[in-house]
């Protein structure tokens, strides 16, 4: 009996949270329209969310590209197909690894920081203070952060992919002796701007939206204690990562089913 009651409570709580998150999203999106007039707030947040994440994105992109180059070469060389190394590296990066890994890193680096910051604002009653001064915290605090994450994520994913392709070049051409021209032409032959690159960018836009939404909402919805903030931060990383991986499967099956 108690286990069934527990299940019921869990379902009710989940649905309630989902409802709160949706109401919050609507209010934030309305706030985004209003906040566009105060451009400097957005610039500040793009710095915190985007610029400070560049380093980890660039380093990870370089290493992922280099590993792809190494592994791809070792497999392809058995079939005498090392001339398609550029294609293998570019396709795996543009379609999957670029958007997904960037979103996971973004959730860990920027998402957790967003949640902790907003959660701490709530725990120290700063949000309540703003309301007392007739400043809407959703418009003043949430909306610029949400917009910044949404803008920064596709740019970060593009950087990750571009650096990854260069990393593959570094290993494939520089170390393993694939011809430089062949590396780039095999890529241009096989990678389509609309089918592959645009779909990859669309993925990163969706991931940016979802990850930032989860991060900002978890902070806003956190229990205003130090334990609550720490839990909310953990939840951001876990839920955002799972959401990215699940959504990636759905988006892939929608986008690449005919290709």
């Amino acid at each position: 009996m108690t286990s069934i009651r527990g299940l019921g409570r869990w379902v009710i709580n989940s649905v309630l949270r989902l409802g709160r998150a949706t109401v919050f999203l609507t209010a934030t999106l309305l706030g985004v329209v209003l906040i566009l007039r105060r451009f400097r707030l957005i610039v500040q947040q793009v710095f915190a969310v985007g610029v400070l994440t560049v380093l980890i994105i660039v380093v990870s992109g370089l290493f992922v590209g280099m590993v792809l180059g190494l592994q791809g070469y070792n497999t392809l060389v058995d079939f005498g197909a090392e001339s398609s190394l550029g294609l293998v590296v570019a396709l795996s990066l543009t379609r999957e690894l670029g958007p997904v890994l960037t979103a996971l890193l973004f959730a860990g680096r920027a998402g957790s920081a967003l949640t902790a910051e907003i959660g701490l604002m709530k725990a120290t009653s700063q949000l309540a203070g703003m309301e007392m001064m007739a400043v809407d915290p959703i418009e003043r605090v949430m909306a610029p952060r949400f917009l910044a994450g949404f803008v920064a994520m596709p740019l970060l994913a593009a950087m990750f992919t571009a650096i990854g392709v260069l990393g593959g070049y570094l290993i494939g051409v520089g170390l393993l002796g694939v011809d430089s021209g062949v590396y780039w032409t095999s890529m241009q032959e096989g990678v389509d701007v609309y089918d592959d690159i645009l779909n990859g960018v669309m993925k990163s836009v969706v991931f940016g939206f979802v990850v930032t939404w989860i991060a900002v909402f978890e902070g806003y919805d956190a229990v205003p204690t130090s334990e609550g903030v720490s839990r909310a931060t953990t939840r951001t990383v876990v839920i955002a990562s799972l959401a990215v991986l699940g959504l990636d499967f759905i988006l892939t099956s929608l986008m690449f089913s005919e290709v």
């Binding site: 610039v43 985007g50 610029v51 740019l155 593009a158 571009a162 241009q188 701007v193 592959d196 690159i197």
Partner: protein, 154 residues
């Protein structure tokens, strides 16, 4: 950090992101090589296109001069109608040019090879290549060989 430095960093960030996108589109993708406007279309009918795909290369003397733009079935005689878009630079293909579906390597992707003829008139937009050679389907070939061998034994 001062306001100017902050704005500078964000500006650099956006520029770097857009530069990465541009590099993906131009260097990694085929935006720089595809000129859809600068192409003319000719068709050819084949008995069997095998594994030919849309976007497969069309070559002449091994040099890529265009792409397969469409493949469909002729409602009249059930043959395959393949449409090629060929780069406008190569607008001097004789009207008796022949087209063959070839395979790159033993198991590689299939492509179309054009062999120029000797006529003085050139193929124009919407023309049809009359002399064609269908794809070689390996299974059919093996089947025929086994069949003729069995007949020879009996």
């Amino acid at each position: 950090m001062s306001r100017n430095a902050l704005e500078l960093w964000v500006g650099l960030f956006v520029v770097a992101g857009l530069a990465a996108l541009a590099m993906l589109a131009l260097r990694v993708g085929n935006l720089s090589t595809v000129n859809v406007t600068d192409a003319y279309k000719v068709t050819a009918s084949f008995g069997n296109v095998g594994g030919l795909n849309v976007k497969a290369p069309v070559t002449m003397a091994g040099v890529k001069i265009g792409r397969v733009s469409n493949i469909q079935i002729d409602r009249e005689d059930y043959s395959a109608i393949v449409e090629f878009s060929i780069d406008r630079r190569y607008n001097n293909l004789p009207t008796d040019t022949s087209a063959a579906i070839l395979t790159s390597g033993l198991l590689g992707a299939q492509y179309v090879g054009l062999e120029p003829g000797g006529e003085d008139t050139y193929l124009k937009q919407g023309d049809r290549i009359e002399i064609t050679q269908s794809a070689v389907v390996l299974e059919q070939l093996i089947g025929q060989m086994l069949f003729s061998k069995a007949q020879g034994d009996g």
